[in-house]
């Protein structure tokens, strides 16, 4: 299960990305809409800003806007930001590779091999799906992704 923190981050980013271009959204408004504890959300938005994903404006007409386009931000990137490596085993992570302490041989590890097969597919979807995709897909729920990739 992903953490509440990560889920809140997704909800917030989708809300911000769905705004009209240049229109800022406040943390108060996002918290109200989605029932997220306000101070907790502020921390999350701050993390997203520090990661270079959001931009903020302070003061009375302040709020948050996207810094990068929604189509350049993948689910995988956001998830990693809040949860660390996505891989089920440290030896399967590309960004945060570590050998298992008790590892005898990676190439002959059955656990690594079978989890690797499963994780490859999982990662590939999350790293290739962007917030932009998610926003477009919500308008056509039965949309088949394969068709778009081909088009």
């Amino acid at each position: 299960m992903i953490s509440n923190k990560a889920k809140y981050a997704f909800r917030a980013m989708l809300a911000i990305a769905a705004q009209e271009e240049g229109d800022a959204l406040t943390s108060t408004e996002i918290a109200r809409r989605h029932g997220i504890p306000h101070k907790f959300l502020e921390q999350i938005l701050l993390d997203l800003k520090k990661a270079g994903i959001l931009e903020s404006r302070r003061g009375k007409t302040g709020g948050y806007v996207m810094l990068r386009p929604a189509d350049t931000i993948s689910f995988g990137e956001v998830l990693r930001l809040f949860e660390g490596p996505l891989a089920p085993l440290p030896c399967l992570s590309r960004n945060a590779y570590r050998r298992c302490e008790d590892c005898v041989s990676e190439s002959s590890c059955e656990i690594r091999r079978e989890f690797g097969r499963a994780y490859d597919l999982y990662r590939q979807v999350l790293d290739s799906t962007t917030l932009g995709d998610a926003l477009r897909n919500r308008d056509n729920p039965d949309f088949r992704r394969e068709e778009r990739a081909a088009g």
Copy 2:
């Protein structure tokens, strides 16, 4: 990342399943081979026994043997036993479905939709790969699974 507990469970089961038919393996021997804390491993093996996966013999010539054939035990089943639901969101779990507390509409939830696509693939691999598969695959590392499924 999966827990050490689950990883130890996999190592133990693969070791037991690799034994000659009816040949018991002791917790002491498994712990020694894989550098697993012995008392911790005992708890794990007990869980596997209670789940009806392993059988045990007590006394001086005791140890553990498989109760069910290795080909009937999937990675998904073992993982769920030690980690609970595999799904990234409670609303995506089949065995332990729960609605998100802040859910407005599942069918229009972008997070659910995109994670659902990724998770479906992950789950399908883990639920269709058995300990038996893993043991056979270790002898032919470049084995393509698709071929076997077709045969």
